[in-house]
Amino acid sequence: MEKHQLVCIVCPMGCYLEVTKENEEYNVTGNKCPRGKAYGMKELTNPTRVVTTTVKIKGGLLNRLPVKTKEAIPKEKIFECMKFIDSIEVKAPISVGDIIVKDLLGTGVDLVASRSM
């Protein structure tokens, strides 16, 4: 039986999880909500993160527009995505939630604006 100690990062509660694996079956304890259970299993099988960053914006109040991946993307794709996002430039006006990149690098996840400017 495999045992893993994790800290849940789904919310700021930061539950201390213990994930055990027995016969390909994962069991999570220590979570205070169902999302913690899902996180514990996912973290060991396919860890993902929401990436938040900025893109260049012209004609806005600021030089950078904050953006985020609408859903979590695989952890190992983060740097590849950052490199791609670096080449993007948008023009104001932009509304919060506007899609900046559709299906970011084939992850199936859109990059969206996280404020209006």
Binding site: C11, L62, F79, M82, S114, R115
Partner: protein, 421 residues
């Protein structure tokens, strides 16, 4: 002289929530004063996610969280002045403020809500030895440069202090292509949320050195390196444990201080532990009709708690305007007991409590498996089991109004006790 029922000083998350809640409670004539060029406060530079889980049940970024409140404020037609600096609160709740459009203004307020937030401790505040080159930033300043202005602040970075902003900047700098060499923390535990240690440091293999401090900054024009050493239990550096890092940037994440220059000059009594005003259950300060909320009162780790507290301040400021608050009601003091550093509010008048009383507090060390016990004049009124407690994570207790019956000069204490003791 301008006249408003309520003037809110500061247009960040605290001020926005307070103004909106005051309006919802029947006060129409409200003005928000903001010194920045836009509303939203520091949330606008906090582009990471994790905001709003309590308030909106979804995970938002700082700007998204701010925008919800800004939109609501605008839709409600609440007045605000940007690029406007509040200078002073004088007698009779007259605020002195200045901007380039109106010039110098005197604003008479029926009630004032202080929501100026907090500021970062700087190099000067912690007396770091060494030369004084460029490349030393507070984490929040670096955050503003990188996330809003579009300037990268360095390539090889060492971070002193493990507060949440420092941890988040460790990840941010890494994503932007910099190499974060180390995070050094003076205390034997991190000052940030555990989730941030995991997703900002461990995810990117950034080493965290607990019980370590900064010995020296090297470099004349630009930072060329720093020296870090381990400290003993008295926080004194241990000779021979020095580590040298070649870096061009040092970020400081060494704590936040409530921004209370205006409060001090107005003669508002401050708590030496929180550095914020002493407040009662209505979030009213020692000056009648002057309320305070958010990081100006005590530094919060979650904006959701700021919002909840500020709504209470906004609602009570409205009640004050409508003369619904009993000023001379029976009062109990709150007193931090074993293991607790401070409690907000500092005073409670049960007659003015609206349903439940929320006490917010921080513990003084990392604890496991404890009971948090609330006592009223020595009699236990509430007990909660806590698996894990840390100074970086704010705790709260809800007490029902009916549990608050007491005589004159009562004391409410909160203390920790080892489970099973």
């Amino acid at each position: 002289m301008l006249k408003y029922d309520i003037v809110v000083v500061g247009g960040g998350p605290a001020g926005l929530a307070a103004a909106i809640e005051a309006k919802k409670n029947g006060v129409d004539n409200i003005l928000v004063i903001e010194r920045d060029r836009e509303l939203g406060g520091i949330l606008q530079q906090c582009i990471h996610n994790g905001f709003g889980l309590h308030v909106f049940k979804e995970e938002l970024t700082g700007p998204e969280y701010a925008e919800k409140f800004i939109t609501e404020l605008k839709n409600m037609g609440i007045e605000y002045k940007l690029d406007t600096m509040a200078l002073e609160i004088g007698e009779e709740r007259v605020i002195h403020a200045i901007n380039t459009v109106d010039g110098f203004m005197r604003i008479k307020a029926g009630a004032i809500i202080l929501s100026m937030g907090c500021r970062e401790r700087t190099r000067g505040a912690i007396s770091i030895p060494g030369t004084r080159p460029a490349g030393v930033f507070t984490a929040g300043t670096a955050q503003r440069f990188v996330n809003m202005e579009g300037y990268m602040v360095g390539k090889r970075v060492v971070i002193l202090g493990s507060g949440d902003i420092g941890l988040i900047m460790a990840r941010r700098m890494t994503l932007e292509g910099a190499k974060v060499l180390a995070v050094a923390e003076l205390m034997p535990f991190s000052g940030g949320l555990t989730r941030n240690i995991v997703q900002c440091l461990e995810d990117y293999h950034i080493p965290l050195y607990l019980s370590h401090t900064l010995m020296e900054i090297k470099g004349k024009d630009r930072v060329e390196g720093v020296v870090i050493a381990e400290v003993d239990k008295n926080r004194k550096p241990i000779p021979g444990t020095e580590k040298h890092y070649d870096c061009d940037t040092l970020l400081l994440s060494v704590g936040l201080i409530p921004e209370n220059e205006i409060s001090k000059n107005a003669g508002i009594a401050l708590d030496p532990v929180t550095s914020g005003p002493i407040v009662n259950e209505s979030m009213e300060t020692s000056i009648e009709g002057v309320f305070a909320c958010g990081n100006v009162v005590h530094v919060h780790d979650l904006v959701d708690f700021v919002t909840a507290e500020s709504k209470r301040a906004g609602k009570n400021a409205a009640r004050y305007i409508k003369k619904e608050i009993k000023a001379d009601a029976k009062t109990a003091k709150t007193k931090p007991g074993e293991g607790i550093r401070y409690i907000v509010p500092h005073m409670v008048r049960p007659e003015n409590v609206d349903g439940t009383l929320d006490l917010f507090m921080r513990v003084d060390n990392v604890y496991k498996d404890m009971n948090m016990i609330v006592k009223l004049d020595g009699k236990e009124i509430k007990r909660m089991k806590k698996k894990h407690l840390a100074p970086g994570e704010m705790e709260s207790v809800k007490i029902k109004k009916e549990d608050l019956g007491f005589g004159e000069d009562a004391v409410i204490t909160v203390q920790l006790e080892k489970e099973g003791a």
